[in-house]
């Protein structure tokens, strides 16, 4: 009798639980976008009883680990899991969370099941929203078919509920080898071809034409003359470059040269575009590094690169934070990744890796793969804790007698931080007196991966650098390689690239619109704009076959020709969208609450924006008409009619206005691209670099050989370096590729717009109230993978 009652109790309790799962609002990276999409109108996860994402673990019983589990965030993931009440379930969503996926890299845990029990795995990279729904249904089935909760609920001993799956241990119950079990002892393909270990690389046997050579402009030539006159002996102009004027500078005169370029040169180079380093040890005999300083002139427009050679195992050079405040984070990153110290830097410490990390990952000797390191275990996740917020805020405090501030910690897991960002504010009442940021929770080591994947293999990684900008990311990368190898892209491919990039700009801005409005309390747009975003993704899917990460651009073109029916799909969207946008604007643009929350909040002056390297819509919101599509036209943007919207004031509202207007301009570009799509090839016939289309590969032996080489060891890109930047939805994203004439890059540097934009956030937040911080975060539109890379 008792057992029968309990069995009936099991059925009732399981039925109730099955339809009232409460997932936590928890996302790590790309996958979370698809998880959130599953909540919106088209997919409507509420139908399955998992209605609202709960912001706190206390209110949730389902943890969907959506995205890459980084070693820096793993302790947080574990804590959130432990802080959930009983019973609780775990779904691991996406390849990264399942096994590390394509990120077999030093900073990524190779599967969340090493630190948490997992009930259901959802495969995919990222899984579609439908896959999330299926995962949820599978969990429901698991609850109904295997759990006996009544005994647990009434404390009768026995029974099962919640997740009981065991933790997996590498080498015993799981293998981290992405090829599966049984391959122990066989080297992973690709790693042995990476310097400094590999000798007699077959790429050396191939011939390619030398790297592209550019003609310097009149302005560059006169500047070069002035510089060699002013700094005789200490600056040397490189004779051949593929992208911009480049000098090597003696270390001791670097600061004078930079000061000259910033304040006196004609034109003035007012922005520090990028600052990074290259470990030379694998291509030269002695241990040494090259510092790369890249400046940009807004008046020119022109770019210039300075290279400084540093000798020794632990080199030290002078900081330039007194010239450009934005150098602060860049120098910390160089220190973190290369171990180069900067004399006079205000607080030189790690920025991307955890504070107690050993070694400098971008050094050539450092192991690139997580599978070359010991597995990350539960004990690691319990031991390695993020630093206390007070330690960040006490750094640089003038005197210890300052009254004890009230410390507010926001993130890394927080609904309003839009990703794994940790903000620590010291407050006076509700007013922010100081804001410190901790980044690196999303460091995927993609620059290191770029040094081992072949030139073609790396393309999918670029998609994931800004996971809301999809194919637009590919463009910066392929442009850089094309600039270096002088690959000509057919006109049709160029317009197709523009079409895709602008579709993604729209889709990104629609997410921005919804989340920003949501951040300041207007929840409605979320449910509307995602409908149009789905329309865009349908078009993208029709053309490319993918949604978030199509990986569709190729060296020399795109992956495939446009399919039948693309024009109708694009036209239908172009017809519908303006009316919808007007509707959304009616909701928000003149909304008095929205204006009160955003107007005059988080101001950034134009001077500050330039000094801090702020780019994209955030820069244009300060009143400067600066858009790479106009200033350094690429991929044929010069053939399109569109305006560059700007706004005045540099506050949250201005940032919003710029983006709304950008949607209209993007639509104009899409319309023109669709109307004037040229005929011709979709990929270059220069098969030395491009992957030949299948028809050619199957019919011509030359193409077959090229195909074989380009997909296996990769095309040999000539020795040299090139930088290319594009205007992605968030700002200027640049790729600096250095080639040693191998099938993969020697150094792959990514300049993400978010890194500079977010570094300027404390400027905007100081003196504002806590609630305004959320508005500022929402208005900035950053994304973590491009900050942490």
């Amino acid at each position: 009798m008792k057992n029968r009652l309990l069995d009936a109790g099991d059925v009732v309790i399981n039925w109730a639980r099955k339809y009232s799962l409460w997932p936590m609002f928890f996302g790590l990276s790309c996958c979370f976008v698809e998880k959130a999409t599953a909540l919106t109108s088209r997919y409507d996860m509420a139908r399955f009883g998992a209605e609202v994402l709960r912001p706190s673990p206390r209110q949730a019983d389902l943890l969907i680990v959506s995205g890459t589990v980084f070693k820096k965030i793993a302790p947080v993931v574990l804590r959130l899991y432990e802080q959930m009440p009983e019973p609780k379930w775990v779904i691991s969503m996406g390849s990264c969370s399942n096994s590390g996926g394509m990120y077999d890299v030093y900073s990524v845990v190779q599967g969340v099941n090493q630190i948490l029990p997992v009930d259901v795995y959802i495969p995919g990279c990222p899984p579609r929203p439908e896959a999330v729904l299926q995962g949820l249904v599978q969990l429901q089935e698991k609850i109904v078919s295997t759990e006996k909760p009544a005994r647990k609920v009434f404390h009768l001993g026995g029974g099962t509920q919640g997740t009981v799956a065991p933790l997996l241990v590498d080498g015993h119950t799981k293998t981290r080898d992405s090829r599966g079990t049984g391959y122990q002892g066989m080297p992973l393909r690709g790693s042995s071809a990476t310097p400094p270990h590999f000798f007699d690389n077959r790429s050396h046997l191939m011939w390619t034409p030398p790297a592209r050579r550019i003609e310097l402009t009149q302005g560059d030539q006169s500047l070069a003359a002035v510089m060699s006159g002013r700094f005789p002996g200490s600056v040397n102009q490189l004779p051949h470059t593929s992208d911009m004027m480049t000098f090597t500078v003696q270390e001791n005169s670097l600061k004078d040269v930079l000061r000259f370029l910033k304040h006196e040169a004609e034109p003035r180079y007012r922005r520090l575009d990028d600052l990074t380093a290259v470990d030379e040890s694998a291509r030269s005999d002695e241990a040494s590094f090259t510092m790369i300083y890249q400046l940009l002139s807004l008046d020119g427009p022109a770019r210039i690169r300075l290279k400084v050679r540093l000798e020794g195992e632990e080199p030290v050079t002078k900081t330039i934070t007194d010239l450009w405040p934005s150098a602060n984070w860049y120098e910390r990153e160089v220190y973190d990744m290369f171990g180069i110290r900067f004399d006079g830097h205000p607080h030189l410490r790690r920025i991307l890796m955890p504070h107690n990390w050993q070694g400098f990952p971008l050094r050539k000797k450092y192991p690139g793969r997580a599978t070359e390191m010991p597995p990350y275990t539960l004990e690691d996740a319990q031991r390695e804790q993020p630093l206390d917020a007070a330690e960040f805020l006490s750094l640089g405090r003038r005197n210890e007698k300052d009254k004890d501030p009230f410390i507010l910690n926001l993130g890394p897991h927080h609904v309003s931080t839009h990703g794994l960002l940790r903000c620590m504010a010291s407050l006076d009442g509700e007013e922010i007196t100081r804001l410190e940021l901790d980044i690196g929770y999303h460091h995927r080591g993609v620059e290191k991966i770029g040094e081992r994947q072949t030139w073609h293999q790396f393309i999918p990684y670029t998609d994931r650098v800004d996971y809301l900008a999809g194919a637009a990311n590919n463009l910066s990368y392929v442009l850089a390689v094309e600039a270096l190898a002088d690959i000509r892209v057919p006109e049709r491919a160029q317009v197709m690239r523009v079409l895709l990039s602008e579709l993604f700009r729209l889709s990104n801005h629609l997410v921005y619109f919804a989340t920003f409005a949501h951040d300041v309390g207007a929840m409605t747009p979320n449910f509307y704009t995602f409908a149009e975003r789905e329309m865009i993704l349908d078009v993208v899917e029709l053309i490319t076959g993918g949604r978030l990460h199509p990986s569709w651009f190729r060296l020399g073109g795109v992956a495939a020709d446009l399919p039948d029916g693309w024009k109708e799909a694009v036209d239908a969207f172009v017809r519908i969208f303006p009316r919808r946008l007007r509707e959304y604007e009616n909701l928000i643009t003149k909304n008095p609450i929205f204006k009160a929350r955003t107007e005059g909040i988080g101001r950034l002056s134009l001077e500050e924006a330039i000094d801090w390297g702020v780019t994209g819509p955030n820069l244009r919101a300060c009143g400067l008409e600066w858009d790479l599509r106009k200033k350094f036209p690429y991929s044929g943007y010069e053939n399109f009619q569109f305006d560059v919207p700007t706004a005045a004031g540099g506050d949250c509202y201005a940032r919003y206005l710029v983006r709304v207007e950008e949607m209209r301009q993007s639509l104009k570009i899409i319309e023109q691209a669709a109307a004037s799509m040229p005929s011709g090839r979709y990929v270059t016939d220069d098969y030395r670099y491009a992957i030949p289309p299948r028809e050619d590969m199957l019919t011509a032996i030359e193409s077959l050989i090229h195909h074989f080489i380009n997909v296996t060891r990769g095309p040999r890109i000539p020795r040299g370096e090139a930088y290319a930047a594009t205007e992605v939805p968030r700002g200027e994203q640049g790729y600096y590729v250095v080639s040693e004439g191998l099938g993969h890059a020697y150094r792959m540097r990514i300049r993400g717009p978010g890194f500079a934009n977010v570094q300027a956030m404390p400027l905007m937040a100081r003196g504002e109230s806590v609630a305004d911080l959320i508005a500022i975060i929402g208005s900035l539109d950053y994304i973590l993978p491009d900050i942490d890379r």
Binding site: S56, R79, V153, F406, L410, D428, G429, E430, E431
Partner: protein
Amino acid sequence: MQPISDGAMLSPWEPGIFSLVLFGLLVLAFIGFQLFIAHWVGEKKESREKSRVYESGVIPTGTARLPLPVPFYMVAIFFLLFDVEGVFIFAWAVVFRELGWTGWLQMAFFIIVLLVGLAYIWVKGGLDWRESHRSK
């Protein structure tokens, strides 16, 4: 609107002590049952992490017992003050006709005093509770 002065409109005061006690006991029992069910039913696993304060997934800094400046406290106090004064004005509105011009004059004086007080607070910056806004 008719002033509510007629006592017949309110229900008569007829205390039934038995039904009150019974009702009270039922309420107490119901609440007790709910609290007991919520407390007893369900599995509980105590752990150090679970009993730790939730702070965006990191270990919180310091304790929650610390002096915290509450600058809008002045605004709150002023609100309370004027709110209470409002009670007098409502009461006056009810007997507006009975009091006539004398009452009007007295209340006008009262309201003017309040307004002067409000203006004084305003001018003194008592309503700007944020430091930076005061200095701007």
